[in-house]
C-alpha cells in the first residue's frame, strides 16, 4: 500500500479524517548526573502511564502499543506516518534533545550483582522490524552504584550471533529510569545506543549479558527503533516539527508501535514535566 504521493494527497488526509493527534505529559525521573544524561521517559509518570519493564526476569517481552503515546488503532492495509511533534516544558533543565522511539522488546531484571553469564529467554520475538532489528539501550530499573563493563551476545540483523565484547559500560550511579549505558561520564552528547560488533546495524534478540564487575541494582535491556529526534530549546516557547517542512523525512508508524521518548536534558530532570503532541496521518 502506497504512502502519500503529493502535497495535495497529504493535505487531503485532514479533510478525509485520516489524521490523529496523540497527546502526552510525562514527568521525568531523577537523573543521577547533570548535563545531557539520557533518561527513559516511558518510566515517567503522567500520560501515558509509566511502564516499569515488568515481566519475568531475563525473558523477552513486548510492550502493548496502546499503553504508549497513543497513535490510534491498527491501520493495515494503510500506512500511518508521523506528521508532527510538539514539545513544551516549563523548566530550563528540560532543554535538550528528545528521541521518539518505538520500543520493540525488553529483557527485564538483569542482576547487577551477578558476574555470571545471564542467559535470556527468547520465546517472544521482535513484533516489528523483525529482520532489520533495532538499537539497544540499558535502563536502570533499580539504582546502580558502580561502573561496570559488560559483554552482550546477540543475534544481529542478518541472523548471526555476535558478541560486543567488553566495550559498553554501565555507569554508576544511575538512578531509576536512567539509560545507564549513556551517562554523561561515558558518552557525553552522543546517542544512547550500545556499541555493537563492527558493521552490525541492528539487534534482533539478546542472547546473554555478562557483567565484568558488579554495578549493583537491576537493569532492563530494551531493543528500540529510533524514529525521530526533536530539540526543546526554550521554556517560553513550544518546539514543533512538521512534515514535510521542518521534518523532510518522516517515519512510518507501524501497527502496535509502543511510542515514547528518551530525553537528554540540560540539567537534572527529576520531577520535571514535558508535555506535547504527536500528529499522525495515514494513507489510503
Amino acid at each position: 500500500m502506497a504512502g502519500f504521493k503529493s502535497f495535495a494527497d497529504l493535505a487531503k488526509a485532514q479533510d478525509e479524517g485520516r489524521v490523529y493527534s496523540g497527546h502526552f505529559s510525562k514527568t521525568a525521573g531523577a537523573s543521577a548526573s547533570n548535563v545531557w544524561q539520557w533518561i527513559d521517559l516511558s518510566m515517567g509518570t503522567g500520560n501515558p502511564m509509566a511502564q516499569y519493564y515488568a515481566a519475568s526476569p531475563l525473558e523477552a517481552a513486548a510492550l502493548v502499543g496502546r499503553r504508549g503515546i497513543y497513535h490510534g488503532d491498527d491501520k493495515t492495509p494503510y500506512k500511518k506516518f508521523l506528521t508532527g511533534i510538539s514539545l513544551t516544558a516549563t523548566s530550563a533543565n528540560m532543554i535538550g534533545k528528545y528521541l521518539l522511539a518505538d520500543y520493540l522488546l525488553f529483557y527485564p531484571f538483569i542482576d547487577g550483582t551477578s558476574l555470571d553469564e545471564q542467559q535470556m529467554v527468547n520465546d517472544v520475538t521482535l513484533p516489528r522490524y523483525a529482520s532489520e532489528g533495532g538499537k539497544v539501550i540499558a535502563v536502570a530499573t533499580a539504582v546502580l552504584t558502580a561502573n561496570a563493563y559488560f559483554d552482550m551476545r546477540y543475534i544481529n540483523q542478518d541472523g548471526v550471533e555476535r558478541s560486543t565484547g567488553y566495550v559498553n559500560r554501565l555507569a554508576g550511579p544511575s538512578a531509576i529510569g536512567n539509560v545507564a549505558n549513556a551517562s554523561v561520564a561515558l558518552a557525553s552528547g552522543s546517542f544512547p545506543y550500545l556499541s555493537l560488533y563492527g558493521g552490525d546495524t541492528g539487534v534482533r534478540s539478546i542472547s546473554s549479558i555478562t557483567l565484568q564487575a558488579a554495578p549493583g541494582g537491576l537493569i532492563a535491556f530494551a531493543i528500540i527503533k529510533p524514529l525521530q529526534m526533536a530539540q526543546f530549546l526554550d521554556t517560553n516557547n513550544t518546539t514543533e516539527k512538521q512534515f514535510p517542512f521542518g521534518m523532510p523525512v518522516t517515519p512510518e508508524i507501524l501497527d502496535g508501535a509502543y511510542l515514547n521518548f528518551l530525553a537528554s536534558t540540560a540539567a537534572t530532570s527529576g520531577g520535571l514535566i514535558v508535555t506535547g503532541r504527536l500528529d499522525f496521518a495515514w494513507s489510503k
Binding site: 497529504l10 485532514q14 497513543y70 514535566i273
Partner: protein
Amino acid sequence: MGYTSQDDLINQITTNGKRTRLEMFKTTAPVHTAGGWHMLAGLGGYPNAATFPGATTGNADLVFQSCWETSGDGVNIIGPQHGGNPGGSATKHALNVGALVVAAAGAPWQLKLVDLQGYYRLSTTNVTGTSSRTLNNGGTFTADSGTDIITYTGDFTTYTKVQFSNSGGALPGGLSAATDYYLVRQSATTAKVAASLSDAIAGTTIDITSNGTGTNTMTVQMRSASGVGCEACFVVQTAPTGGGPNLTASDYTNTAGTSGRAFQGSPSNGAAADAYATRIIHSGNATGRYGPFLPRQGADTGIARINSFTWSGGTAYTGSGVIALCIVKPILDIVVPVTGMYSERDLVNQLMSMPKIDDGACLQWLMFGTGATTTASPVNTTLDIGWGG
C-alpha cells in the same frame, strides 16, 4: 470552495473583505486536576453558558442533540458567532489562531478547537447504571401532508440534520432518500422539514404532499458529512457522587455506514475527584485513560453516530451526575507554554493548512492542563477566519 491560490487569498481578504476575527474568553472553574482535558463550553465568559449541556424540559436523555452556531446546545448559545454561512460554494477556513492563559498554576496548556456536532445527555440511571444504553439517532416516523409535520420518538433540536429512508413502500411526497434535510422543531416529538440549513434558519419548510407508505425511518447526520473526522468524548456537567466505571462495550457507526464499531481499550472513567464539571472524564494520568477522545476502531476516519455504550467494571457511578457523550470534529491545536504568554499559529503556511470551518459550526475549546490549573483563570483565544468563492 476555499482559495484558488495565495493571490486569491490575499485578494479575498484585502479587496473583498472576506474575513472575520473572533475573540473569545472563558474563566476556568473549578480547579482542574493535572493531566486532564476539559471542554470549556459550560464556563462563564464569552460565549457565556452556565452549564453544558443546558437544562431543558425537552432535552431527554439518550437523544442526539445537534449543536449549531446559532442555537448552541438547544438551550444556550455556547459557541462564538462566526458570521453565518458565506453562501454559494464558498467555504470558511481558519487562517490564524492565538491563545493566552493567565493562571497561577497548570502550565503548559494545550488547547484544541473542535466543532461540537452534538451530544447525548446522560443522567440518573444512564450515569449510574451498568447495562447497555441504547442511544436515539432517529427511528421510525410518520408524516402528515396536511400540516407538513413529521412525528417521531425523541426530542430533536431545531436544525438537526437528518436523512430519510423507506422500506416496504414510499417516502412521503417531497422527501427523498439519501438526502440531507434539517428539522424545524414544532414540539417534543414533531418537526417540519427544511431542504437546507439556510432554509431552516429562514423557517422555509418543505411541502409534504403525501403521507408515504411502508416504514419510514429518520436517521440523524453529523454536520460533517458521514461524520468524517469526528471523535467522541464524555464531558461532565454535574459530577457523580462517587465511582469510576470503565467503557466496556460500545457500538458506533463509522463513515462508511458500518455499525458495530467499538471504541478500543476499555477506557476508564475518573472517580469523583476527576469527575467535576467540564472534565472529559476518561482523560488524565491514570490507567486506561485516553484523552481527549475515545479510541476509534481500526482505520475508521470518523463517527457517523453512536448507537450504544456500556459502563461496567471498575466502580459504578453513584449520585445524580449529568454527563454528555459528545461528538466533535477536531479543527486545530495550539499550545500556551507559560502563563501570560500569547501564543499564535499561522494556519496558512503549514500542512495541514487552513482547516475548514463548516457552515453552522458550533466551535468549542478543549483545554489540557499539565498541572492543576488554578480556578477562575482567564483563557483568551482569537481566531481569524476567511472565505473565498
